[in-house]
Assembly symmetry: C2
Homo-oligomer: 604 residues x 2
């Protein structure tokens, strides 16, 4: 218990829940780190895809970046509307479920949950890879360091929403500040530094159509959108008014994301920076502007941190989304319990263990997982956009026509990107997600069916009549010999009913005779029944005897009182027959029979 309180601190009272909410500043840090981290590689992905088409296509990076920013605006607008339409949170899951039906909702939810696990694994291993490439001595311990990082993020999240918000704000704002400074300095330097000549880059793509290259570059750049849905799943984490604050945060995130994407794409083009295997585009741009001074290193450091912290967004969202789905009875109900610090501890722990397991299975080399998660995100985007189109059609409130146009455009764009990614990455592993999502959906359906069936079976409408009292209460105390624990069990049995019988199974004639003599000597005031057992089984004659009593008193109830040893050390269990446990297991399935353990505490 003291380790627990050392790690996560003392519990928080339920009534203080409102004080645990996030301000907009903290919310931006928590929910945007995933989206913002993609700025570190998004513009680079566009350039990489365009390079195949030679120097002629490279300038297209700017219009493509603009296109992506427009897509960001559409998707963000859509989520902004979702937040206000469904202020209890749930994002794509809720929108799709309410407007498109249960299955689309579950598909969106499953896609996001799988994505969050992948995001933690991929971002932590990518961030740690950046660290170990700076300190090659650590390379042999990559998996251990990654697990440590996951463990740390997990513990900080278990310490409470507010605490994690405080701790993780600094690196996020350091990164945003650094990149804004970089863009500003790039702009001011553009007056003094001569623009380098265009590199002589030949097309390497053979007879690939330029249109196809551009489409692929756009799809690659769409990686920037991952994480933009985060706020929508975490509305309830914000201070009241929740929807308003979440909406403002979402707008700010989208604006920052847009500015950074366009800024970096523009100045990378302006300074003729091309992707190469040894240095990222961001690092090249930053080195061109600041050379390798303290600002350069600060930006590099903040970039590594934000890559790792992308995982934190998952830790904020996975438990919330899964708690919403658990409340709807699509996931185990334990996921909707709030822990000591009012966070959904079970969700945090499950996310931590699942991503750690993935990391161990892939031994820290998670490149294979990267193609997987764009599929999930864009599935959620497409379903969420389509859900909003249906929402406008149903509601027909103010500006519904404009809404349909915007979200319709969003549906088509994100849908096309989804198809492009799924087809292109299919053989690189996207098929795994296309199996995992239906599998998880199937599981949620089974869980739901079980809960519905239990609720129906437990419902009180059908059978108050069953509640009439029992006509007779027979107590049976099976004993294995005359000893202290038996005395306690008989004494307890006598407190339950006047009809108490001790039962002994005859296996060894000498033991049985000794037993009878001791019983008669002690005179417990209870009759002793001796059951024969030709095949040495203890349970069979006992069950036959119980069956006999059941037939004798059909309206009665039978309690089987079993003495239970409580050893002082766990391994002592191995030294005792587990007959009592075995008997209890069988009795669990007999109607009208209840089994009770009277504990007997061994002192040593």
């Amino acid at each position: 218990m003291s380790l627990k309180s050392f790690l996560i601190g003392s519990p928080i009272e339920t009534i203080k829940e409102k004080h645990e909410r996030l301000t907009k500043t903290m919310g931006l840090a928590v929910f945007s780190s995933d989206a913002l981290s993609s700025v570190a590689y998004g513009p680079e992905e566009i350039l990489l895809a365009l390079m195949v088409g030679g120097a002629a296509l490279l300038h297209l990076s700017i219009p493509i970046a603009v296109g992506i920013v427009i897509l960001i605006a559409i998707v963000a607008t859509s989520y902004f509307q979702t937040i206000h339409a469904y202020p209890s949170g749930g994002g794509a899951y809720i929108v799709a479920k309410e407007n498109l039906g249960t299955y689309p909702g579950l598909i969106a939810g499953a896609a996001l949950l799988i994505d969050y696990v992948l995001t933690v694994t991929v971002s932590v291993s990518a961030g740690i890879a950046a660290v170990t490439s700076a300190f090659p001595g650590l390379r042999d311990h990559v998996v251990a360091i990654c697990l440590l990082a996951i463990g740390l993020i997990m513990i900080i999240n278990l310490r409470g929403v507010k605490e994690s918000g405080k701790i993780f704000s600094l690196p996020v704002y350091l990164f945003v500040g650094g990149l804004l400074l970089l863009i500003a300095a790039s702009f001011s330097r553009s007056f003094s530094i001569l623009q380098p000549p265009m590199p002589d880059l030949k097309p390497s793509a053979g007879n690939l159509l330029p249109m196809f290259i551009i489409l692929k570059a756009f799809a690659s750049g769409c990686a920037t959108l991952t994480g933009i849905e985060a706020v929508s799943n975490g509305v309830r984490a914000f201070k009241a008014p929740e929807a308003k604050n979440a909406g403002v945060t979402l707008v700010w995130m989208a604006v920052i994301l847009g500015v950074l994407t366009i800024g970096i794409a523009y100045f990378a083009d302006y300074y003729r920076i091309l992707p190469n295997a040894n240095e990222t585009v961001l690092s090249q741009l930053s080195r061109t502007i600041f050379s390798t001074g303290p600002i350069y290193y600060t930006i590099q450091f903040a970039t590594s941190l934000i890559l790792i912290l992308a995982a934190n967004t998952s830790f904020a969202d996975f438990p919330r989304l899964s708690s919403i789905m658990a409340t709807d009875r699509y996931l185990p109900r334990q996921l909707s319990n709030r822990g000591d610090k009012l966070v959904f501890s079970n969700g945090i722990l499950i996310l931590g263990f699942m991503s750690a397991a993935l990391l161990v299975v892939f031994r820290g080399d998670t490149h294979a997982l990267i193609p997987l998660y764009a599929v999930g995100v864009f599935t959620a985007f497409t379903l969420s956009q389509a859900g909003m189109v249906v929402h406008w059609l149903k509601e027909r409130g103010d500006g519904w026509m404009r809404g349909i146009v915007i979200n319709g455009l969003g549906t088509i764009t994100t849908g096309v990107v989804l198809v492009v990614i799924a087809v292109e990455k299919f053989e690189h592993g996207a098929w795994i997600v296309l199996i995992a999502i239906p599998a998880l959906v199937y599981l949620t359906r089974k869980v739901h069916q079980h809960y519905e069936s239990v609720a129906e079976q437990l419902s009180l409408d059908s059978c108050i009549i069953e509640a009439k009292d029992y006509q007779h209460h027979s107590v049976i105390v099976p004993i294995s010999g005359m000893q202290q624990a038996v005395i306690g069990a008989i004494k307890y049995g006598k407190a339950l009913s006047d009809d108490v019988t001790a039962v002994y199974v005859y296996i060894d004639p000498v033991e049985t005779r000794k037993m009878k003599e001791k019983w008669d000597a002690l005179c417990m005031g209870v009759k002793l029944e001796i059951l024969h057992s030709p095949y040495r089984s203890v349970t069979e004659p006992l069950m036959d005897y119980i069956e006999g009593i059941r037939e004798k008193y059909p309206d009665g109830v039978i309690t089987v009182v079993l003495p239970e040893f409580v050893p002082s050390k766990w391994w002592h269990h191995l030294l005792h027959n587990q007959t009592a446990l075995f008997i209890k297991g069988i009795l669990l399935f007999k109607k009208g029979v209840v089994s009770t353990s009277v504990p007997f505490h061994l002192r040593k």
Copy 2:
């Protein structure tokens, strides 16, 4: 249940135990296969050791074989006496414990138990290696085939003593008959076949003293003695009169062992057969006499079988020895239970699983284990011989002086061999046994202490006064909502006592209000107590409440009745809070409180 009865057959009644005993013929087959199998490699070991000294020393194989046969006679005589002195079985363990004290007894017992595990592993993998060298296609599946063989021997032993005796007699007598035929034919051929000239073998041992080479050859040949103790541990497996029948069997075993050892050593020398890496001495001798006809192949086949069946002796002895030690409270008592077929099933299963685990760990290549088990056997021999010396000194019956001389000589010889083996094989792994034996002895001591302490705590001498009846019986039914399972629990609670209280933990205000309304509407005739829980814990307020009741009725008993869901599928457990289980776990440690589960069966 039907798989079990298919594998091991229907149970045998306790009173039929006497019919399950072994005749001398079957007993010889069961208990001698380990000892007899060593004939297949014993004489070869002597020649191998002597070859180092060159041709001049080779003839010494015959006197050394004679020496080993004398040692066999001494050890067998000693065990013969043990069998009659301690007819309830236990061999070296009992002799050493009775005459030398607890620790020597436990050391002998531990050494033998460890040995039996090693014997199964080594003999099965050696026997299977002989098979796979004939069928190279099977080599990739060595481990699987070995596990299959262990499983098969295990199942046959679980089917009952008599059944295993019947099944395993044929190969043992085939082997004995084959070797006796071989010796007879070798003798008759010696008149017609010219003896080959002595090979020109140069000493390869450098300046090693001949005395040392001879000592080493003797120690190597002592491998023949392994298994000679088997009968002494299994006296109770024989038909009455047990000691007499076991004694006769032991004598027969020793005689056969002696004849085969001397015979093979003599004719191997006569026909100038030398060990080589490609063919065993036995195979060479057999081929010289019979050439490669059906008799040769039959002897080779029987030799492979007896190597595997050496494991069967362990399966006969390990469960018996461990049941004797368990009855003495040095091992878990489950080992002394007889199973459906009256055999000590738990011992058979443990031996099977432990040897299988060793086999998997060593991937079927058990050469490394061979040096280990001679150490254990000779530890047991030495302690058993020394025990008999003390026995003679104490009893001073007929021929006690002769007894002391024989067993004294036996003690010294087996002790010297033990030291030679332990020293020579120390770095090849014998140190493992020298750690494992004390470790197992330590464990048996701890087990014994626990059982002694439990027996003392359970003893009835001290506290009959505690048995006065309880003054009050309070029943508490913690409920999580109004549903069917609660109705059953309350109904049962009312059968126990008139003081029944339902307890509900207040976490969510809306839920609590709904709960109260339903409660009042149903009017269960039981009062409802609502406990506040600012930190959302269910258990803490409940425990505080129980504590309050305990203080109110210090002479009373409290029963906590918990509704327990019994799901129809195991995985449904994951979908329900395990709060009831958790509460029961805590209550196990509260004195004067008993917890009861009233099962509620979910139909689907």
